[in-house]
């Protein structure tokens, strides 16, 4: 049933999704309004994240081999998806964990939302590039390479801008905490690795203990 409330919700979602395009061209203004004027929604943020993942997967399958030959035997689609989601989540957690101690105004969810909104240029450029890759020769590949690099740089720079706006940081402080967040990410990865290896050691200990026990008993 299409109740008017649902239509309203969809309209709000659609408006917030369209707002991502405004953010892509007006980083300062856009990301300020995103949280302070509540013009962003989680639904739109998730949509953009899904579009990004989708474009990356479609790139594998549909990009011309001249630009990007794919060794299918080595591709693990889940790892491939994780290669976007995992760094994004670590970034969000690392950034929030740090900035919340230093007057950052952004909440965890807001950091996530803003980061996802920043990803928009990636699918925006990569989807047409998939088409372009199929009509270029090896000599014309430079166009593709440059545009592809532009999409990445665009995303990265925009994330830095966005963090500055949602945390209400000055430029210098923003840069400082971007670098600090990167270190925080490293620390998180380190702890995760440590944790996993500790747990697996522990589990292995109890398994071998149990085996030994059964061996003695029987």
């Amino acid at each position: 049933m299409l109740t008017s409330a649902r239509i309203e919700a969809f309209k709000r979602y659609w408006k917030s999704f369209k707002f991502a395009f405004y953010c892509a061209t007006h980083p300062m203004d856009g990301y300020w309004d995103l949280t302070h004027e509540k013009r962003g929604t989680y639904a739109a943020a998730n949509t953009i994240l899904i579009l990004t993942i989708l474009s990356r997967i479609m790139k594998l399958q549909f990009t011309s081999f001249v630009v990007d030959p794919v060794y299918w035997e080595d591709i693990n689609i889940f790892l491939y998806i994780a290669s976007i989601i995992f760094p994004l989540l670590i970034w969000v957690v690392g950034n929030w964990a740090l900035t919340t101690l230093f007057d950052g105004k952004g909440k965890l969810g807001q950091v996530y939302m803003a980061s996802c909104y920043c990803l928009l240029p990636y699918p925006l450029i990569q989807f047409p590039l998939i088409l372009l890759s199929n009509v270029v020769t090896k000599e014309e590949m430079q166009f593709h390479t440059v545009l592809s690099a532009v999409s990445l740089i665009w995303v990265l720079v925009w994330i830095v801008f966005a963090m500055g706006q949602i945390h209400e940081y000055s430029f210098g402080k923003n840069i400082l905490f971007t670098v600090a967040s990167l270190f925080a990410m490293l620390v998180i990865v380190f702890i995760l690795l440590l944790f996993f290896s500790m747990i697996s050691q522990g589990v292995a200990y109890f398994i071998s203990f149990g085996k030994e026990f059964l061996f003695r008993v029987s």
């Binding site: 081999f65 030959p69 020769t137 090896k138």
Partner: protein, 508 residues
């Protein structure tokens, strides 16, 4: 009774099944055996290949009818026409063999001395033998410290001695090992302990310089360490940065010299700072074409295992008349065949005592007779003769047809190769290139895409794209018109309409 019968049947059935399982297992293990011939695909995966070369025969000294066996230090094997000249280094003699038919050799002559007005008319550890176009004979008479030039009747003409050059150590004993002689009678030779490249002599015997030295390989860190952090005494002990010596030379039919080095470091080969094989022009610069997916250095996998370690050690090289060439790897006992573009056609051989395999570290010399390959193994004191199989012949035929301009035929031959070996990248690319030449771009694209040949794909695609645009120019024009012009006209009409609607003269 009935029960017994049933039991019997079950017994027999299980026995049969067990037999079938054992049979099945044995065929499985047979399949897992390493193939004799292989090549690499685009990704560097080893792809088994049908045998491209088969062994005609392995000839021991006794088979050849020699009075005493070939010495273990024999190093030189040169094919001139139908004859093989074998430098039996340890026995100080040169053996001339003639190939009387496909499988038979006979000894024509054994030379242990020559005629002429010179003090020493015997050989002392000769290592290489060449005959140039005039019929003159050149011999690297290693331990007599000279390169001999004899006429076709083995009469002494002249000799080439240690070059007089200030940069050479006075105490260095001149020991020429390998030779190449060009049509003008100029001699290029390499000698033990001389790493400045090839020693070049003019036809009259004057030394005219060193050519084709390998660029010196060292890394920055080693340099900084040695230059700034080492004492003079330490520096003395450290390895010095010098060019590597060549291990063998081969002059091809165009007069270019293939030179190979066998003592290179793995990491230098991988980084491309050292090259296992060079094709040197008269100026001494490397003109070897390396258009393959992998550099020309033999096996691309260098780890240890299977009885060998590290990179291929290329001890000899020989080039066919179609500019394909073959490298001989003493580490693995393998032969690597490359085409003129530096793409590996196939590799075969190995270490062992079977026909077509070589002793450890000891296939030492290689030459070719037509497309037949002849290799010397001086530990087992044998000469091995390889000849292309039907498959190998097809590959060569397809390349020759393409070079001669018979593109359609070449495509058909590559198709035949593909029928024999569906994992062969070059067959697909060959068919594609033939189609490309016949201007059948769309079909060619499919073949190139299958085997990731982006260069040829781009060539074909450029033409295909042009053709497509020419054919569809009308559609493209109409679409462009529809997308750009029509909205413009509509907008214009709308504007005029608005202007009319709001014009003052209609306002009363």
């Amino acid at each position: 009774m009935r029960k017994n019968l049933a039991k019997n049947i079950i017994k027999r059935l299980s026995a049969f099944l067990a037999g079938a399982v054992i049979l099945g297992c044995s065929t499985l293990t047979a399949q897992a055996e390493e193939k004799y011939t292989y090549c690499y695909d685009y990704w560097g995966e080893v792809q088994d290949s049908p045998d491209a070369y088969e062994v005609v025969g392995v000839y021991t000294s006794a088979d050849l009818g020699l009075d005493k066996p070939i010495s273990t230090t024999a190093t030189g094997l040169t094919v001139i026409g139908n004859d093989i000249y074998l430098c039996d280094t340890g026995n100080n003699r040169i053996i001339q063999l003639s190939r009387v038919d496909r499988e038979d050799f006979e000894v024509v002559n054994i030379f242990d001395s020559f005629k002429g007005d010179v003090e020493v008319t015997t050989f002392n550890k000769p290592q290489d033998f060449q005959i140039n176009e005039d019929g003159n004979i050149f011999i690297a008479d290693t331990d007599n410290n000279r390169v001999l030039k004899l006429d076709s009747e083995w009469n002494y003409l002249m000799e080439f001695n240690k070059p007089t050059d200030n940069t050479l150590d006075e105490a260095l004993v001149f020991q020429p090992t390998k030779l190449a002689v060009d049509s003008a009678g100029r001699v290029y030779c390499i000698a033990t302990g001389i790493n400045k490249g090839m020693i070049k002599y003019e036809a009259d015997g004057t030394f005219s310089g060193f050519v084709g030295a390998t660029p010196v390989v060292y890394n920055l860190w080693d340099y900084i360490w040695k230059r700034f952090f080492s004492t003079a005494a330490q520096r003395e002990k450290q390895a010095s940065f010098v060019p590597t010596e060549y291990s063998n030379l081969y002059m091809d039919h165009d007069g270019f010299i293939y030179a190979c080095s066998s003592n290179l470091a793995e990491e230098d080969l991988k980084s491309g700072s050292a090259k296992a094989v060079r094709r040197l022009n008269l100026m001494g610069s490397d003109i070897l074409i390396q258009n393959g997916e992998f550099p020309v250095y033999g096996d691309i996998y260098m780890g240890s295992g299977g009885g060998y370690t590290g990179c291929s050690k290329i001890v000899d090289v020989t080039a066919f008349d179609n500019d394909s060439y073959v490298l001989l790897d003493k580490e693995r006992g393998r032969l690597f065949v490359y085409d003129s573009q530096g793409r590996m056609l196939f590799a075969f051989g190995g270490k062992g005592n079977m026909d077509g395999y070589f002793s450890k570290d000891q296939p030492i010399s290689l030459d070719h007779m037509g497309y037949d390959l002849i290799a010397l193994d001086s530990i087992s004191k044998t000469i091995t003769v390889f000849t292309p199989t039907d498959y190998g012949k097809l590959v060569f035929q397809a390349m020759d047809q393409f070079d001669a301009g018979f593109y359609e035929e070449s495509g058909e031959t590559w198709q035949a190769v593909m029928d024999l070996n569906g994992n062969y990248d070059l067959a697909y690319i060959g068919v594609g290139r033939a189609l490309l030449r016949q201007e059948r771009y769309k079909e060619a694209l499919e073949y190139f895409e299958l085997k990731f040949d982006d260069d040829n794909y781009s060539k074909a695609f450029k033409q295909y794209r042009k053709q497509w645009i020419e054919e569809h120019i009308l559609v493209i024009f109409i679409v462009a018109f529809a997308v750009l012009i029509v909205p413009m006209i509509i907008g214009r009409l709308g504007k005029i309409k608005r202007e009319i609607d709001t014009a003052d003269i209609f306002k009363f």
